[in-house]
């Protein structure tokens, strides 16, 4: 997995975000075992304590589960993943609207622009 850690924000927050993304994109599928802390830390070139903190946070959010014998696995509960997807997508939408507003567009204009960019298939499936 490709990690990109930028210097200006706390590292563990970025790790949390990127791990969530990995789950959402399916890089780590539901129920799949994830590598141990040290392995992930070496991959991301970050401090193992920081990686541990990030993983602990994901466990708190229910995205990861720890089993005594199997180590850490992605949750098998599709509901949680869907909830996460919805959350992240909503954040993206808010970010887009904010960016459009900075450019001088109204919300309605921003939505119309988005529909246009999506093309003719965008009228179906309005539920996430």
């Amino acid at each position: 997995m490709d990690w990109e850690i930028l210097p200006d924000r706390p590292v563990y927050l970025q790790l949390v975000e990127q791990l969530e993304l990995a789950v959402l994109t399916g890089e780590y599928s539901p129920g799949q075992r994830i590598p141990p802390v040290r392995e992930l830390a070496a991959e991301a070139a970050v401090n193992p304590n920081t990686m541990q903190r990030a993983l602990a946070q994901l466990e708190d959010r229910g995205l990861l589960e720890t089993h005594r014998t199997a180590g850490r696995t992605v949750t098998g509960d599709p509901g949680r993943i869907a909830a996460l997807r919805g959350q992240r997508a909503a954040e993206c939408a808010r970010a887009y609207l904010a960016a459009a507003q900075r450019l001088g567009l109204s919300p309605a204009q921003a939505v119309a622009l988005a529909r246009q960019a999506a093309g003719p298939d965008a009228h179906h499936e309005t539920e996430v």
Partner: protein
């Protein structure tokens, strides 16, 4: 279990008129990776040599797991100098034997695995290796020890980027919760993601010491960016 793997109290070192270190106080706790950061000549190597027992302090105190530097502390300390310290007329197997002989906490298996990664044969002569390979060999030997304190002096200085990635990865993989690690470098951007704590030195004095993440949050920028700002000439 010791309370602090490394503890410096008002540590000073002077060479005649020149003051290399003055009043340095900080500690490295077990399981923490501490960065000793600062420009060249700020006293980082002097501090590490004091902790390793290769220099004696002019003032203040330094202790490793509660004991002052000496044979007892050296058995607990894994020191990687910023230069080639292995005798060049040896072969790889000789260096393995040396470490195994003198350091009970040396793991031959770990070292063998790392050497295999580096594609180094036991019978190879050190004099036939490039500087980069020698530095990786030294790193492999030092990191194969289960020490209480790791002192790494400029482990990635003067090495190509691919080797840097390998070295940092080796350091992370050999991290242990019982051990403290002090890593000195002037290449802050490369290592800042690795650090739990950061101690900044300038002209022998501590300019800032604390958690790396705290500094990022407080200043809103990375350690390297903050360093360039504060230490700009």
């Amino acid at each position: 279990m010791c309370t602090d793997c490394l503890s410096c109290q008002a540590l000073s070192k002077t060479y005649g008129r020149r003051t290399a270190l003055c009043g340095v106080t900080f500690a490295v706790a077990p399981g923490r990776i501490t960065g000793l950061l600062g420009p060249n000549g700020s006293g980082k190597t002097t501090l590490i040599k004091l902790a390793a027992g290769l220099l004696t302090p002019s003032g203040g105190a330094v202790s490793v797991c509660g004991t002052p530097p000496g044979p007892a502390s050296k058995a607990l300390t894994a020191y990687l100098p910023d230069r080639v310290f292995l005798p060049l007329h040896c072969r790889v197997e000789d260096t393995l034997a040396l470490f195994a002989d003198f350091f009970p906490d040396f793991s031959r298996g770990k070292a063998a695995a790392m050497l295999a990664d580096l594609k180094l044969e036991p019978r190879m002569k050190l004099s036939s290796m490039s500087k980069g390979t020698l530095e990786k060999l030294q790193l492999a030997l030092v990191m194969s020890r289960r020490a209480r304190l790791y002192l790494l002096d400029e482990p990635i200085g003067g090495v190509d980027p691919a080797a840097r990635a390998y070295i940092l990865s080796t350091i992370i993989r050999n991290y242990s919760e019982d051990a403290g690690m002090l890593l000195s470098t002037h290449l802050i951007a490369e290592v800042e993601n690795l650090l739990d704590d950061a101690v900044f030195l300038r002209e022998g004095r501590v300019v800032s010491a604390g958690l790396a993440d705290d500094l990022r949050q407080r200043e809103g920028k990375g350690l390297d960016a903050w360093f360039r700002e504060v230490f700009a000439c």
